[in-house]
Subunit: 537 residues, 2 copies
């Protein structure tokens, strides 16, 4: 028997329409390239998104066309999210830090017909436009009078493009699972892969994210996490859903700029990756400032470290929420919220729990399995391949015919993790990075974290290198602080205080710098290849 409730095939534009009606005056603040603050609100964002949607429609773009963005976090990017997807096209956010070859690959793979390009990124497109056969038009995010001199063809300013758009445009109804947005994984090996989100999955994810992160319409949210990366964790949908104020830093991501923006716009909640928070905390420490208006910060994209956690909570009285997810998961998978139990714990015990990746929010299911696919116990000890399932997790990569999930719908995250009796998930390592030594697993992340505790080490990287006796053994690369020098043996002795003896790397290599990908993640595959014979010579 079927229920008698209404069918539901949402259009994400319903969200900005909702905000325009329910929270018309809630502000959207953007730091522009010049450093000035641009102020708008949800009513105006919605009106301009409608103008854009109608302009695109009039221009002949149709449901299913893919249109790219090469843009910073700001109000125009927000309007574009809704304008493109709301009229039925697909918003494809491009990472402006990509290598040009990767950008060409991705733009052509997606067959982007239009790219909305930030003024600051015009040179990126200039260099590759000849290699983009599908690209028909470049809409530059500025007024007509600000258009730069550029060899780019078929350009128009955003403001001119939307000028004659229709502010009374009616958003079309969507069908179930109509595509909405496209994002490519950073791809440390092989070609980048696309994840094609639907309107439904974006809406369901946003609703889940709002309670998995305990967000509220009273929040003033600083969105440091880039809008090109997994739709900024869904926040451009969540904030208008709840009526939260949005604060976009644009390109001004240094500690001082962030602090000033937080202070001026009374930010209560900030979202970002650990490296950005380190800069902010450094600035506060050096200038004896306190983040007095901030209540919470959400840290994701890389594991939270104890020093950052402690500094936020103890020096700034800011509650830290550790979150984990991935592009394939829209991205929110687990969050580590404050619990009733934590209020009576010792700090050390509480911090130990808060460093875990957290619990899955309702809608996401997790399990860990052995190499042969057998489910492992949720005892906090067994380490296995982390498998996920749920409505905002991909089924297949874009343009792939083969499913990315098994017959029961489980997606292999590529992570090795533990699950404990209280429901907490802890990432042990990436499956491809874990060092398989004598049938046991050594976590490269744990070893790196141990090395980081040495005062002279500023960066560390562990890879597994083939070994005749043990299959693999760890090899440690370290970057030392300027002017410092230490012996390998000293590092080994330091590590032996932190980890099991058989984990100690057989060798240590000092390097000037380590390779990072476009989203800042360590890229280990090159090192692994280059040093594959290191233990067999």
């Amino acid at each position: 028997m079927k229920g008698n409730m209404q069918d539901w095939a949402p259009n994400v534009a319903d969200i900005i329409e909702h905000a325009s009606q329910q929270f018309p005056k809630r502000e959207v603040i953007s730091k522009t390239q010049s450093g000035e603050l641009h102020r708008t609100n949800f009513r105006r964002v919605c009106a301009r998104a409608k103008k854009l949607a109608s302009a695109l429609e009039r221009d002949g773009y149709k449901k299913g066309d893919i249109l790219g963005t090469l843009a910073l976090n700001g109000y125009r990017h927000l309007e574009i999210y809704y304008g493109i997807s709301g009229m039925g096209c697909i918003t494809h956010t491009l990472n402006f830090r990509l290598h040009p070859d990767q950008a060409v690959y991705i733009i052509n793979h997606a067959q982007d017909k239009v790219i909305f390009c930030e003024l600051a990124f015009v040179t990126i497109l200039e260099a590759i436009q000849d290699k983009l056969p599908f690209l028909e038009k470049v809409i530059i995010l500025c007024g007509q009078e600000e258009l730069p001199k550029t060899p780019l063809k078929n350009i128009i300013s955003y403001e001119q493009y939307i000028e004659l758009g229709d502010v009374d445009y009616k958003w079309p109804k969507m069908q179930q699972n109509d595509a909405c947005a496209l994002c490519y994984t950073s791809g440390t090996t092989g070609d980048p892969k696309g994840v094609l989100y639907s309107h439904s999955s974006q809406v369901i994810h946003a609703k889940a994210g709002s309670f998995a992160l305990e967000l509220s319409g009273r929040d003033s949210m600083l969105i440091v996490v880039p809008m090109f990366h997994v739709c900024a964790w869904g926040l451009p949908y969540i904030a208008p859903m709840l009526g939260s104020k949005l604060v976009f830093p644009g390109m001004h991501m240094d500690g001082r700029s962030l602090f000033d923006l937080i202070d001026k716009e009374q930010v209560t909640l900030a979202f970002g990756v650990p490296t950005v928070w380190m800069q902010l905390l450094n600035y506060c420490r050096e200038n004896k400032k306190t983040l007095s208006c901030v209540n919470k910060t959400v840290v994701g994209g890389a594991a939270l470290s104890l020093p950052i956690l402690k500094e936020f909570e103890e020096k700034h009285n800011v509650t830290v929420i550790h979150a984990w997810g991935m592009t394939e998961m829209s991205p929110v998978g687990t969050t580590n919220l404050e619990t009733t139990e934590m209020s009576t714990m010792t700090k050390d015990k509480k911090y130990a729990i808060k460093l875990k990746q957290g619990k899955p929010c309702y809608g996401v299911q997790l399990k860990i399995v052995s190499d042969t696919g057998v489910e492992l116990p949720r005892d906090g000890i067994a380490r296995g391949h982390l498998m996920v399932r749920g409505p905002w997790i991909l089924e297949r990569y874009f343009k792939e015919t083969k499913k990315a999930v098994d017959s029961l719908g489980w997606f292999d995250t590529g992570d090795i993790a533990t699950l404990d009796e209280d429901g907490y998930m802890t990432i042990v390592d990436r499956a491809k990075d874990v060092v398989k030594s004598g049938g046991e697993w050594i976590s490269s992340i744990d070893l790196e974290n141990a090395a980081y505790e040495h005062p002279d080490i500023i960066e560390a990287c562990v890879v597994g290198v083939p070994h005749s006796k043990w299959d693999e053994r760890p090899l440690l690369f370290v970057v030392l602080k300027a002017g410092k020098s230490i012996e390998k043996q000293e590092i080994k002795e330091f590590l032996s205080l932190k980890v099991a003896k058989w984990w100690i790397p057989d060798d240590i290599i000092f390097v000037e710098e380590l390779p990072h990908g476009a989203t800042g993640k360590l890229q280990k595959f090159g090192l692994r290849r280059e040093y594959s014979n290191h233990y067999s010579c």
Copy 2:
């Protein structure tokens, strides 16, 4: 183009399974008939729900069968919610305050095959069992040794029924829109009508409700609103979704019992209707007690009044959230959350806003229309028929072939309301209760509220009575405090200080009591019929 994310057809049992894994030890407290507290947790609730589901399956009950509950708020009722719906049958909650004829009508209309009956309600079934041809079995909510002597046929105790159930039962996968739960409207006119919720609508509603009411896993929730009534506003789904502690008062709803329970279980959040809160507040006032652990209370089911709002906020420092909805809406439609703006308002201004019904949570769309269906402005002044649309709003009543919504999916709530520029909705009156005088509308609710302010009046009721010149004119019924007597003229003069002159009722009738329906609402239709010639004689 379709998105590439996973399909999703939830089973509500996923929620209790989630809670069992993520919040296994979170408590579920139930006050039993004897007054003692029963303590269990989500892991045990889930295990027992599985035993029930497997017992029902073994007993031959199949997907789509409708099984009734005649039960109080407590842990067994919670297990039954999941046990019945989770295995594919439909949970039909029965109001134990119904007139026996209505109960017979509803049970037979639904064709309930089983009724799960509270020990205290066995006599209700005894009186009507002979008129229930579809009823196969009565499962009494007690241990086998507690079974009462009763002429009821085919009875078994709940504990015996689930004893041999399978704790490792696997919840079946549901198909999109499979039916989950059934609830009948109280029906002040005509036969009660059923609303058949689906698994998807219940899950979507619960997720929306959790952020529309700003609920958290740290909350200890007192569920005063009955589980027979619109699934207790979705709270039996929301709490395990978030990991919130649940506190059920059973039949102990007087002020003292509620206060003691709140205090003992450190309730932070309480849900209920105004009449129950009045008893609690009276108790606190008379005994000089303060609700120190409570942060928030959600008031719905009837309009919030200023005295209750003020007493909660000023005497007890409890934030009041006014909520509005209906059985046809699962039920949450609008909520009135604290906003950033309220923090700088005068108390009077803030209270004036908080007495409104609130803003629709994302997913619910509202509009107001004239008698001829023309949409009216959102200016806070225009009054129109309130129309709603969304995924947890019904499309048709149970067993009806005709849709209950118009061609665009709008459902007429039967209420007259205003919408303002900031998105707030205010209920003016029920459409059938509004008094149509000379082409203008007089709100019976506003008139009643004005009468309530007279110190000698304890209840008031206004109906529109046919009138030769004005179409209708208001007629006021009042119940005076014991031992008091006032003149009609005095009441009219009192009212003239509060409302427009042309609103003053042409006549006033003193009565000993007023008629109420099973859910406590005033039943005006009888009065309207009885007095239909009052102004034309």
